[in-house]
């Protein structure tokens, strides 16, 4: 966070106010509102228009009323987002923009605001089998507690960060650091997190996680048992035994049901750990950053002495592989039935490669989750609960910066949205501390009237493009990131 991009050359003069600041490339003026972006003075927080005809992730271009040729308003193509629309809190008055536009002949209303979310946080999904920390362990940023490790998912570790307890329930510093971390995560910046008695992980939405300095490349293909099930037939005849090492369930092909149906003979192998069902072992080692999310550096440490009476014999071959195919070893039993490392036969190489090939790229996913409750709703309608009911009845579509938001069933408007689908720089903050995020409610004009909307405040898209809003007339147009559902 210390690296501010600094290029002092090419100063230009801002004429937005009498101060007439000279602003260098990448800097902002004395007001913090206008900046030199690529040799042009732009407003830092313009109202953002999503233009679906611009290329995906397309360049931002200034949208000045004087340049508008009146041709751009083609129904679905333009969507006024909440980004840069401005806000008030608590919301005594109608939202900054209540936009009317024609959608397939029906007159639709979009209520556009930037909402201050006191109750908000992010759920972070980190695609890795590596042990990041124990469930419920505290997650820290710059030494402050900002969240915790929550229930892990298939192939992914989950963090729950932010929320009102950390934003306003702890010390001032905790709230400040939490808000800053959430803001950066939501704006798709990289944030370093440390987990108590666990790993240090760099999280960036849409990018691979970096665990203790190591970049994660791939997710595991499945647990060790699932891997055995998927690939047993491909190993048959090429090797006498296969162990797939995994933090959750380690699989052994000769004992596993998948091997049994192939008539796989016993090998006398004995795995340390707690046997679940035949060929499936829990807790072969401690969680860690070694093989398959365990703390194993040498896989032979999970084996007990081999039993000759159960089939072990000198020359027996063994493949040990992790669930991502990133680690593997090939061994041959010596005369004392001790496995000795040997070169991996070429014939087995494709099966190891196949495992890694079947592993998807590891990514960090950041879902912004927040409650659009309280007074915010009165910016949309005079009867707040009517909006909640309309959302729950699917009559009102909820989006954040144009990205579709999942609204939780049950009471209130608790929404969840993938931050990578939102325009750049969508999020801001207020010193409460709380995050500010764009929020749009879209519904038919008739429904809007019916739920007691601020009908007198409704404006057309054209009018907003022409005149802007109470908090400035600057607009920007960006392409939507993905086809809107």
């Amino acid at each position: 966070m210390s690296e501010r991009r600094v290029r002092p050359e090419e100063k230009i003069r801002c004429d937005a106010c009498p101060v007439m600041c000279y602003i260098a490339e990448g800097q902002v003026g004395a007001c913090d509102r206008y900046a030199n972006e690529g040799g042009r003075i732009v407003r830092c927080d313009p109202l953002t228009i999503l233009d679906r005809r611009l290329e995906q992730g397309g360049e931002i271009r200034p949208f000045l009323a004087s340049e508008w040729d009146g041709q751009m308003l083609g129904g679905e193509d333009l969507f006024v987002s909440g980004v840069g629309s401005g806000t008030t809190y608590p919301d005594y008055k109608p939202a900054p923009f209540i936009v009317s536009r024609e959608v397939e002949g029906a007159d639709f209303i979009t209520v556009v605001t930037e909402a201050i979310f006191s109750y908000c946080g992010v759920k972070v999904k980190i695609d890795t089998d590596r042990h990041l920390g124990h469930e419920a362990a505290t997650v820290r940023c710059e030494g402050e507690a900002i969240g915790h490790v929550t229930t892990s998912e298939y192939g992914s570790q989950m963090l729950s960060l932010g929320g009102v307890e950390h934003l306003t329930g702890g010390s001032k510093s905790e709230g400040r650091v939490t808000c800053d971390a959430l803001l950066r995560l939501c704006n798709r910046e990289a944030v370093e997190l440390t987990i108590d008695e666990g790993a240090t992980v760099v999280v960036q939405a849409g990018a691979a996680p970096i665990v203790d300095g190591q970049r994660e490349e791939r997710m595991r293909v499945g647990c060790g048992s699932a891997t055995i099930g998927m690939f047993a037939a491909q190993w048959q005849g090429l090797v006498d035994e296969v162990v797939v090492v995994d933090d959750h369930i380690t699989g052994v092909v000769s004992e596993h049901q998948a091997g049994k149906v192939l008539g796989w003979p016993d090998t006398g192998i004995r795995i340390k750990g707690r046997r679940s069902t035949p060929g499936r072992y829990f807790q072969v080692a401690e969680p860690g950053r070694g093989w398959g999310g365990t703390d194993i550096e040498d896989p032979l440490t999970i084996l007990n002495p081999w039993l000759a009476k159960k089939g072990a014999h000198p020359g027996l071959t063994l493949l040990m592989v992790s669930t991502t195919g990133e680690q593997w070893g090939y061994y041959v039993l010596d005369d004392d039935l001790v496995p000795r490392k040997a070169e991996l036969p070429e014939a087995l190489r494709p099966s190891v490669d196949l495992i890694s090939e079947n592993c998807e790229p590891a990514l960090c996913t950041v879902m912004f989750q927040a409650g659009a409750g309280g007074s915010l709703r009165s910016g949309v309608t005079k009867n707040p609960v009517a909006l909640t009911r309309s959302v729950q009845a699917l009559k009102t579509r909820v989006t954040c910066g144009g990205a579709p938001a999942y609204v939780w069933p049950g009471g209130g408007i608790t929404l969840m949205v993938d931050v990578t689908q939102m325009p750049d720089g969508s999020f801001g903050y207020v010193p409460t501390p709380a995050l500010v995020a764009p929020l749009e409610f879209t519904l038919s004009h008739a429904d809007y009237r019916a739920l007691g909307g601020h009908d007198a405040q409704v404006r057309t898209v054209a009018d907003i493009l022409e005149k802007g809003g109470e908090y400035g007339a600057a607009l920007r147009a960006v392409g939507t990131r993905k086809e809107q559902g």
């Binding site: 600094v6 106010c17 009498p18 003026g29 905790e174």
Partner: protein
């Protein structure tokens, strides 16, 4: 170019004045309220232009006596702090607030009035009146100032504001006789809260961040990593010592300093008991 703007806040009781980098919130109680708001808005109309007319002088460490009303308040407020490096800009926010407060008070029927210029606040209290002010970092969050108290200005300086600091304080809030004096003192106390040479503190020449900064090539703080409690205490103590010097000279009434969750106070901070503040 945008002109000065005035708009009622949603509550309909406070006025928001905006022009370029200036945002002021005004609150006035008393029978003369409406006329006072009109005087304030009229005075605000030329405030920024007056400052801009003398801007090179205001940004320079030395020079002739400035002309404008606000500029003179800045000069008067910063003079007692010489020879420490300071330009008149150290008091610009507080002085701007004072100029508008003068306009408000230039008429009858004003019981209470305040001008909050981005956290630097000038206020007026008629006999027997009082103000409760929220200080974000104070333990109780609220302080109460009575008309009999000598305080008529509150200012906060530190990281995260619009101007840059040579120090590392999260915030330094100063209570003083005037907003301009509080503003200048807060700037200098915040500069003193520091750990020179500490590796966790990132600094850049001010001109690299803002081309026209009055701080020139001086290194301003751009990032602060985690500090130990001992380091925090040491940095805060350096600031408190500076505040104590200012207090002995009668330049400030009290100061409240905060760094990474730890606070220290110099002088009497009239705190109220913690009250539950509403939040959504």
């Amino acid at each position: 170019m945008q002109r000065a703007q005035a708009a009622w806040l949603p509550c309909g009781r406070r006025l928001h004045l905006h022009h370029g980098p200036i945002d002021m919130i005004l609150g006035i109680d008393g029978t003369g309220r409406d006329a006072a708001f009109r005087r304030a808005a009229r005075r605000f109309d030329t405030l920024l232009d007056e400052l801009v007319a003398e801007l090179p002088r205001l940004r320079a460490p030395h020079g002739p006596r400035p002309e404008g009303e606000t500029a003179r308040i800045m000069a008067k407020a910063t003079a007692p702090f010489a020879p420490e490096f300071i330009t008149l800009m150290a008091a610009v926010a507080g002085a701007g607030a004072e100029t508008i407060l003068r306009a408000i008070c230039a008429g009858p029927g004003i019981r209470r009035a305040y001008v909050n210029n981005g956290g630097d606040i000038a206020f007026h209290l008629a006999h027997g009146e009082r103000f409760d002010a929220a200080i974000a970092s104070a333990p109780s969050g609220l302080i109460r100032i009575h008309a009999a108290d000598p305080v008529r200005g509150i200012a906060t300086s530190g990281q995260g504001g619009r101007s840059h600091s040579l120090g590392i304080a999260d915030s330094v809030t100063v209570l003083a006789h005037s907003a301009a004096q509080a503003d200048a003192a807060a700037t200098l106390i915040a500069n003193a809260v520091d750990l020179p040479g500490h590796p966790a503190i990132t600094r850049h020449p001010a001109r690299e961040i803002a081309a026209e900064s009055d701080l020139g090539e001086r290194l301003v703080t751009t990032a602060i990593g985690p500090l130990t409690q001992a380091e925090i205490a040491r940095a805060l103590e350096a600031g408190r010592a500076r505040a104590a010097t200012f207090r002995r000279k009668g330049l400030i009434v009290a100061a409240h300093l905060t760094l990474q969750g730890t606070s220290i106070t110099e002088g009497p901070l009239p705190q109220l008991q913690k009250e539950d503040l509403p939040h959504a």
